[in-house]
């Protein structure tokens, strides 16, 4: 069956620009998570959705980061005024509910020049 998909796979942008990263979860999974992973480190939690609502956004580093999931399926992570420090792999995962095993997409590699 179809797994979690993320687009684009790679994104290069200039400092100060706006970017959107898309996540398409496994059909029927109500929980959706965004993470950021730097080289040699484990994924760092950003935000968790249960259905359409952000149940926990405590990991968003600042107000330049925002995520939506308007219909409880596809989610978009939005980053305004990108900075070089935002360069990382952004991972999306979905699960059947909080505290359950997560299924990850391949990630979007974001490079800010």
């Amino acid at each position: 069956g179809a797994g979690v998909s993320q687009t684009p796979s790679n994104k290069v942008t200039e400092k100060g620009k706006y970017v959107e990263l898309r996540c398409d979860p496994i059909s029927g999974h109500t929980a959706l998570y965004w993470y950021r992973q730097s080289l040699g480190q484990g994924p760092e939690f950003l935000i968790y959705f249960q259905g359409t609502g952000a149940a926990d956004d405590s990991g968003l580093p600042n107000d330049r980061f925002f995520a939506v999931r308007p219909e409880g399926s596809v989610s978009t992570l939005k980053i305004q005024r990108t900075e070089r420090g935002d360069s990382a792999v952004y991972l999306c995962a979905s699960s059947t509910g909080p505290g359950r095993e997560q299924y990850f997409g391949p990630g979007t590699r974001l490079t800010v020049t």
């Binding site: 484990g42 994924p43 968790y48 249960q50 359950r100 095993e101 990850f104 391949p106």
Partner: protein, 110 residues
């Protein structure tokens, strides 16, 4: 502060040489502890969930165990295809976010 640490940072094994990876955690109320495998350039792949001390799960050459302070991932007679980074993660009873450890990079040499 809730924390997950993993050791060793990197491990190099000969094919067939069994070993264990450690995940130590401090959390006020553990809901679940997870092990994932991550290959270069890919997202993590789920391996096991453990919910209570004393619980064990097995899959092929891998066996995960859990105590009140740590979890072990035992690898028996590893093969080169077991080479990957192994990540430990946990969820806590009072919040839904997931905390990942830094991972152990395993290399199995033929």
């Amino acid at each position: 502060e809730d924390q997950v640490t993993q050791s060793p940072e990197a491990l190099r094994l000969q094919e067939g040489e069994s070993s264990s990876l450690n995940c130590s955690y401090t959390v006020s109320g553990l809901r679940g502890l997870f092990w994932y495998r991550q290959d270069p350039g890919k997202g993590p792949e789920f391996l096991f969930t453990l919910y209570s001390a004393g619980e064990e799960k097995e899959k092929e050459r891998l066996k995960a165990t859990l105590t009140k302070k740590e979890s072990f991932l035992h690898i028996t007679a590893p093969k080169p295809e077991d080479s990957a980074t192994y990540l430990c993660a946990l969820t806590q009873t009072s919040y839904d976010k997931v905390i990942f450890g830094p991972g152990t990079s395993l290399s199995v040499i033929p």
